[in-house]
Amino acid sequence: MAAEKQDRKKNKAKSAEKKGDRSKLIEVEQPLILSSSPHEYTTDSVPRIMWSVVGALMPATIMAVYYFRWAAVAMIIACTAAAVATEAILNRLKGDSLTVKDGSAAITGLLLALTLPPGFSISGGIIGSVFAIALGKQIFGGLGFNIFNPALLGRAFLQASFPVAITTWTNPSTAKFAGIDAVSAATPLGQFKFEHILTNYGDLLTGNIGGSLGETSAIALLIGGLYLLIKKYADWRIPLSFLGSVFIFGGIFWLFAPDKYPDPIFQLLSGGLMLGAFFMATDMVTSPITPKGSWIFGIGCGVILVIIRLFGGLPEGVMYSILLMNAVTPLINRYTRPKFFGEVRA
């Protein structure tokens, strides 16, 4: 608008200064808006992407509620609310415009809740959510500037602070009848690592196993993950290379020592791998922007995961594998520039 005013002023000045200039003929009947091309835009927007991710998490959320009932409901609501509230308060304190409507804080809260064991204390979940948003995201400048996936950073913080509580699991079938605190059970990965018991695939797929709220049912996670891939809200290269490298790299160990190491399908279906591969590694902000970078990122995650699972002190390594790859993402971006159209590299 300011440009138009200036234009009109200039026109007036010019018409006074020079005869024959037709600017004096100009009568602006309705001011025209100036803008720089393109003048057409995609209908996609950041809030639409973020809320779609929330939607894609719904199957897993519903399964969590089905298996763990009120414990799941309470944890999910508490973590999401705490994340959104922290974001709003920090927006206010920093004098920024409110960004909670873009849905990213809700994702962080929901994702964190889904990574916690069913019997974990609600106050612990809230602490984790506040940490995730405050120190995982807002301290870097908010959405788009964070280096690590906030939900995973929140979980890493909880793992460091409450190491026992965060590895205490409840079996869904017992939880349904006897309540969440009744019996503690091991996760399939833990069972394998420490007791060498292999859980059957059917239970792994439907989620009738011990584990975090949202990581138990591989099918529910796959449905949501495929939705994101179809909508192109997640880069297909990352889950493919992540899962693929776990399958291949884990499979190599299994081939050499089948009684010492779990088979690759068990590797794929157990633990937080599905949740991590489809919803956390694919976090746009903290994964590489280049296609080649996405492959490297996914393969890196897979290799680190297998190493932690097979040789580390912990039964599960999804969280650390993604966080470690988050850290090298800027470096990956730098060294994976795509070839220009028509470029011939020497």
Partner: protein
């Protein structure tokens, strides 16, 4: 069926329905025209007429002896009222010749038609194309005779006629292919004779089935050996490098020209102008302009004289309606917003789009979430988000390392960005800064 195409790009809604069935109409003669002395890439022309001179339609009014230039003709019969600077659709004020129509006569000064063009020499044809002031009518306005004079060390084996019209809204080329098929194909044959090439291709996006059918039918009726291809409707299909990739799977090397891969590309409008210049001796004094959008009362495809004001043309189409808030010259992806409707139609004006704020969204951009949508959109395989950021931070050398100069400014990145970051706009700034810096270093 899967149509040939290039990699990446975007799919904006095409909005062709406003005018894609509207017959081309001839505008009544304008009362006055403002003809810029430079309507092409290259050296500007010097006026060869004076104030108060009588001029005829088609008479040369400005010319240059430089090779990369193109003469300018009067588009009406009248009197030169002034030679001065007037506002140009590109935004600045530039030298123009202002001609007022004197009577109702439209007296043409044409050149001798070359009816037997098959027997004419290549030099004669090329000279005629130069004399007729023909430039690329797709939008770039590069002098056609220059493109038809490839150096000997660059042998040309293929010619592609560009009928993609990949910009949304525009239908000028589409209607020309439906209504003026034979003229276009003759122009194409002439161009191929000048270039001495045997392989002729026509690339048309598959959202113009009637044009594809018409062109294929006429090609076989005229016994021409051209390959009329339907291509995927995808932006920027009509960009020269993308089109060559789609049709011939050849990639123009970075920083190179189509002739580096043995190809010359011309727009259908250019081919039509070539045929008219050769067969009728008519210089380029008019062109088809699509007047369209939600903001215009009667969307039309019109033949307008070069130099007619936008207002004159919009009035012919019933004028802007009360909803109109923006007027662009060219398509919505690369077109230029206008503040003043007294600017003239130039040789590169393919359309005038009148839009309402309902359609044209005004956004505040939010931070980049590194989703990579711009990277998936960029047909030149660049990293738009990175380039835009570097340009904003004035890190021009780093941007040059990442290939900012390869950007064709198609706008796909800014179209695709969910954060609505003005990516191509920043990249344009960066390119400008780079060329400024390079010319400073050279000096």
């Amino acid at each position: 069926m899967k149509f040939p195409t290039f990699k990446k790009g975007v799919h904006p809604k095409d909005y062709k329905e406003f005018t894609n069935t509207k017959q081309i109409e001839f505008m009544p003669l304008p009362d006055e025209v403002f003809i810029p002395l430079q309507q092409h890439i290259g050296a500007p022309c010097e006026p060869v007429v004076d104030r108060r001179d009588e001029v005829k339609t088609g008479q040369i009014i400005a010319t240059s002896d430089k090779f990369v230039s193109s003469p300018i003709h009067s588009s009406i019969t009248g009197k030169v009222k002034a030679i001065g600077t007037f506002r140009h659709p590109m935004g600045s004020k530039v030298p123009m010749i202002h001609i007022k129509r004197t009577g109702d006569e439209d007296e043409w000064e044409t050149m001798e038609p070359i009816t037997d063009w098959q027997a004419a020499s290549v030099e004669e044809l090329r000279q005629r194309i130069h004399d007729a002031g023909i430039v690329g009518l797709g939008g770039a306005a590069f002098p056609t005779h220059v493109k038809l004079s490839p150096p000997d060390e660059k042998p040309i084996d293929s010619f592609i006629l560009n009928g993609c019209e990949c910009e949304p809204y525009l239908t000028a080329d589409h209607r020309a292919m439906v209504e003026r098929t034979e003229t276009i194909l003759t122009g194409m044959s002439i161009i191929m004779k000048v270039l001495g090439v045997k392989n002729g291709y026509v690339g048309i996006e598959d959202n113009k089935p009637d044009a594809i059918e018409q062109m294929q039918k006429q090609t076989s009726e005229l016994n021409l050996d051209f390959d009329v291809l339907a291509l995927e409707t995808k932006y920027p299909q009509g960009a020269e490098k993308m089109l060559i990739d789609s049709v011939l799977s050849r990639k123009v090397p970075t920083g190179g020209l189509p002739m580096d891969v043995g190809v010359v590309v011309h727009n259908v409008g250019t081919a039509m102008a070539v045929a008219e210049a050769i067969l009728e001796g008519k210089p380029l004094v008019q062109r088809i302009v699509t007047v369209t959008g939600e903001g215009i009362s009667e969307p039309k495809n019109v033949v307008a004289r070069i130099g007619s004001t936008f207002r004159n043309i919009l009035d012919y189409c019933g004028g802007l309606n009360e909803k109109a808030t923006q007027v662009f010259m060219g398509g919505p992806m690369m077109g230029i917003a206008q503040s003043d409707l007294e600017v003239p139609v130039i040789k590169a004006t393919s359309g005038i789009i009148c839009e309402t704020s309902k359609r044209v969204m005004q956004f505040d951009s939010t931070p980049c979430i590194r989703c990579g949508a711009c990277i998936d959109a960029c047909p030149m395989n660049l990293l738009p988000t990175r380039l835009a950021r570097l340009s904003e931070m004035k890190k021009i050398d780093e941007a040059a390392d990442l290939g900012i100069q390869n950007c064709i400014e198609c706008g796909s990145c800014a179209f695709a960005c969910p954060s609505h970051i003005p990516l191509v706009q920043w990249i344009r700034v960066g390119k400008f800064r780079l060329s400024e810096q390079r010319s400073k270093q050279a000096a």
